[in-house]
């Protein structure tokens, strides 16, 4: 064997080892993150001055029933013991039962998460498709009328309460103009014609060829999704603008101009390409925020999503449900983090080299 190949093999082994180490380190970090997340949520949930037994038995139950249920739930045990029991069960895949819905927590989440996923995905799509070009244009024509408009749109998106905007949008587009469907995910007529497979109604209706129901679902979805899209657009366009301004001030842009490249090529091929790297994180973050579920939007649009589920559960100290929701939200953040890291590598050759 030539000494060259031996060295190459050694290098490969070293790289494999490094990759393995990186994966292990990553898994440890993930595990610790989950543990920390659960611990914080668990203890916050237990210090809020709400008696969880109250949610189960109600205000009228006689004292002996209250005491019995408290014991059954293990609420008499010291906090750390309760936490250990929970972790132990969770590791074996048992996340407990929600007291508010009487269902296993994971069954509930399988039901509410697709509703939020559908809404957040469409919202992020709208926000990105509109926000990125708008931000680019605002940066290119800095100080122009267009820039001002984008700024105002962004400002409104930041400052107007989504609750108010949602109701206004319903009043105009649903009640008055009749262009879209009202609150809820689907009309009562179609409620039991579609069998839930994925829980994402657009996909379910399309798979079953229920095109009328598909149109109805889309009509229900478009308004809240546009609203969320508007808010994420406001954020994404502001960030795009500032990333683009940084890039446009770089020397390589001047060099490209001097080389005689067309302005279009400079902006879209070179500057935006570089701005995309941090932008990916911004978009992923904004997507993750939407996936947490927007409580106010879900309230106005009667959208049975994750945000309402977690909030209702927290208000009733329904800890199994809150912790289950936390795991999902944590996974979303970790997953999207990982995804944007991977995209970094694709977009930025320098990180690949390292």
């Amino acid at each position: 064997m030539a000494p060259g190949t031996a060295r190459a093999g050694g290098r490969r082994r070293a790289r494999l080892q490094a990759t393995a180490m990186a994966i292990v380190r990553f898994l440890v970090v993930v595990a610790l993150t989950y543990l920390g997340l659960l611990a914080v949520t668990f203890f916050i949930g237990r210090v809020i001055p709400v008696d969880p037994v109250l949610a189960i038995v109600g205000d009228r139950a006689p004292t002996h029933v209250v005491e019995r249920v408290r014991e059954e739930l293990g609420l008499n045990l010291p906090l750390y013991q309760q936490f250990l029991i929970y972790i132990g069960k969770a590791l074996s895949g048992d996340f407990g039962t929600s007291v508010l819905t009487s269902n296993p927590v994971m069954a509930d989440i399988r039901r509410v998460f697709p509703a939020t996923l559908e809404l957040a995905t469409l919202g992020t799509l709208i926000g990105t498709v509109l926000g990125v070009p708008l931000g680019v244009l605002a940066a290119v024509r800095r100080g122009s009328f267009l820039d001002q408009i984008v700024r105002v749109i962004g400002l409104v998106g930041y400052s107007v309460p989504i609750f108010w905007l949602g109701l206004m949008a319903l009043l105009v587009f649903y009640a008055r103009l009749g262009w879209v469907e009202g609150p809820g995910r689907i009309d009562v007529v179609y409620e039991y014609t579609v069998t839930p497979l994925t829980g994402i109604l657009l996909i379910d209706t399309a798979m079953q060829g229920e095109w009328e129901a598909f149109r109805n679902v889309f009509g229900h979805l478009i308004l809240p999704a546009s609203l969320l899209g508007y808010f994420s657009m406001a954020y994404i366009s502001r960030m795009t603008r500032s990333f683009m301004l940084t890039e446009l001030g770089q020397e390589y842009v001047v060099a490209a101009r001097a080389k005689g490249l067309s302005e279009g090529k400079i902006i879209w091929r070179h500057a935006l390409r570089n701005a995309l790297v941090p932008l990916v994180t911004v978009i992923a973050l904004s997507y993750a925020t939407l996936l947490e579920g927007s409580v106010l939007t879900e309230t106005v649009f009667s959208w049975p999503g994750l945000g309402l589920y977690i909030t209702d559960s927290l208000q009733n100290a329904d800890m199994n449900a809150v912790l289950g929701g936390t795991i999902v939200v944590g996974s979303v953040f970790i997953g999207l983090n990982l995804l944007s890291d991977l995209l970094y590598r694709v977009l930025d050759p320098r990180t690949r080299a390292r």
Binding site: L37, V40, T41, I44, I48, P49, V50, D51, L54, A55, V57, G58, R60, A61, P62, T63, V65, R68, L100, T101, S102, N103, D108, R111, P161, W164, L167, L170, L171, A175, R176, L177, G178, E181, G182, P183, G184, D187, V188, V189, E191, Y192, T281, T289, E292, V295, L296, T299, S302, P304, L308, T311, L314, Q315, N316, V322, G325, T326, F333, N337
Partner: protein, 552 residues
């Protein structure tokens, strides 16, 4: 970015939900909505299916569909439409009873044995026959499970150990119930109208029994009844669907389907109703009611309920325990103003502890806002310059608004009241631990008999911190051995006229001396589209019968 954002966000959402941002948004919405709707003429009307009644209602309080466990308002209505019981009360006159699955009943001479004869040929929705076996099993099951509403049955001396002897089948059509004392027959029968006495399908329930839970785990999300409707589907916080039960013994339901959609916000309910996407909206606020009233396609229907709203004074507090202070505070509430604004359409002023509609309720309202009189009383108590006090208030309307109104009128007599805002469960937790000064809350009748309220407002058998029973009188540390005896006597009085008189006396006693400032009786109101017929709100949650509704 860090993943610990979530709990922080959840807490933030949680706060913003109950606090100012939302209230602010509401105000803005109200104003703008009024302008927009005034100028709006709805385009094409959406319509609900002709054979389906669609209701918008906040049904997030439902936590179980097992009648032996269910004790929540919206669940009550579902139980009332889907389960039969021995007797029911007349929706038109709630003090009258009629047989449901019982054809007739008799009370023994000594007043301790009740014998029920069942209607023949009854069937459950499952097709199983409904016999005395099922009736006895259902009552025994509720007592053995001993869940939140079980006390309605155990209060006549039934317990896990004796229930199989006390409630038993004689033959297929005869059931006997024995009580420990000779109670007023109205009391026992009234209790049997409650959901906890609903009849479940023994065979079906036991098929799903797990670890000796008498089918409770299964029945939480399933159905085993014989009522006019059956439960087809329940998705918590989303939808609840009922379907006609063709095996029902009586007149069949007019519509094959009834669907409850969970809609929390009044403004959203109003939009859906005006647009015709729901037939009935159940949680409209006074502002939205006023607006909907002007719509020619919508009618408003209302019914006084068995729930009263009150402020209570913790008697552990040295100042609040003075009789003069208790009385003075009753003179410091502007009942008229509250009635005309904050609770318009959703409540009416009421000052005694029995809501109208219950046997023996009296409608006396001696108190009105009288600052001079209150000041006089405070001076007598040595509190000429007033005092400072706190009130725990959950941040929902109309309770929060009433607390603010009371804060202003209290100030006129020198009482500085600080409002401690909180979430519903939070203030309740504090109240139940007797850690409040003043508390504002509500109490709904647990079953349709005056004893339900007398038991909590006028009885406190043991005022010690670890008492076995903790009624409202206990929560306010009001030690009342004499009144407790009177209330106990009233529930044993077998002469109905005398019983009524005893409750009248109790109510007058409490009006004068109690630490409860009773403010109003809840009125339930619904907006109903004009093509909906025979939608009548019941006096209790379980007597609103959607199966009687038709549409054209």
């Amino acid at each position: 970015m860090s993943s610990t954002r979530m709990p922080i966000n959840a807490v933030r959402n949680f706060l913003s939900r109950s606090l100012s941002r939302r209230a602010l948004a509401r105000g803005l919405v109200g104003a703008t909505a009024a302008v927009l709707i005034a100028s709006a003429s709805p385009v094409a009307l959406a319509a609900t299916p002709k054979d389906t009644l669609v209701l918008a209602w906040a049904i997030d309080d439902i936590i179980t569909l097992d009648p032996a466990e269910s004790f929540e308002i919206s669940a009550g209505e579902i139980m009332g439409n889907t389960y039969d019981r021995l007797v029911r009360f007349d929706v038109a006159d709630p003090s009258k009873l009629y047989g449901d699955v019982a054809e007739s009943w008799a009370v023994s001479e000594d007043g301790k044995t009740y014998t029920f004869k069942l209607k023949p040929g009854l069937k459950f929705a499952s097709g199983n026959p409904l016999t005395a076996e099922d009736v006895a099993f259902s009552l025994q099951r509720a007592v053995k499970l001993d869940l939140a509403p079980a006390f309605i049955l155990t209060q006549f001396g039934l317990s896990k150990d004796n229930v199989e002897q006390k409630v038993r089948k004689i033959d297929d059509l005869t059931v006997v119930l024995e009580t420990d004392k000779a109670y007023a027959p109205t009391f026992v029968l009234n209790c049997l109208t409650a959901n906890v006495a609903a009849i479940v399908d023994k065979k079906l329930v036991l098929e799903h029994e797990k670890d000796g839970d008498l089918g409770n785990g299964w029945l939480k999300t399933n159905y085993a009844g014989s009522g006019p409707m059956k439960i087809r589907d329940w998705r918590a916080n989303e939808i609840l669907a009922l379907e006609r039960n063709d095996n029902y013994y009586g007149e069949k339901a007019k519509l094959p389907r009834v669907i409850y959609r969970h809609v929390k916000e009044s403004a959203t309910q109003r939009l859906l109703l005006e647009k015709g996407d729901v037939d009935i909206a159940r949680n409209l606020t006074p502002e939205d009611l006023a607006a909907v009233e002007k719509n020619a396609d919508i009618a408003i229907t209302s019914r006084p309920k068995g729930t009263i709203y009150y402020i209570s004074l913790n008697q552990k507090h040295p100042i609040l325990s003075k009789p003069e202070v208790r009385e003075a505070m009753k003179w410091l509430v502007d009942y008229d103003a509250i009635g005309e604004t904050l609770i318009k359409g959703i409540g009416k002023i009421h000052q005694t502890f029995l809501p109208m509609g219950l046997l023996g309720a009296i409608d006396e309202k001696p108190y009105k806002l009288d600052v001079a009189k209150a000041k006089e009383l405070l001076e007598k108590a040595g509190l000429k310059d007033g005092f400072s006090i706190t009130m725990d208030v959950r941040q929902t309307q109309p309770v929060a608004g009433i607390a603010e109104a009371v804060q202003r009128t209290f100030a006129q007599a020198g009482i500085k009241m600080e409002i401690i805002p909180g979430d519903g469960k939070q203030t309740l937790t504090k109240y139940r631990a007797r850690n409040h000064d003043l508390y504002i809350g509500q109490w709904g009748a647990d079953y349709w008999d005056p004893h339900t309220n007398a038991d909590t407002f006028a009885r406190n058998p043991d005022n010690s911190d670890n008492a076995a029973s903790k009624p409202l009188a206990w929560r306010n540390a009001w030690d009342i051995p004499e009144l407790t005896k009177k209330a106990d006597a009233a529930v044993l009085e077998r002469d109905e006229a005398k019983r009524v008189e005893m409750y009248a006396e109790l109510q007058r006693d409490l009006l004068k001396t109690s630490p409860f400032i009773i403010i109003y009786q809840m009125v339930e109101t619904a907006g109903v589209r004009k093509n909906v017929q025979d939608f009548v709100l019941g006096a209790t949650s379980d007597s609103t019968y959607v199966f009687k509704v038709s549409k054209n």
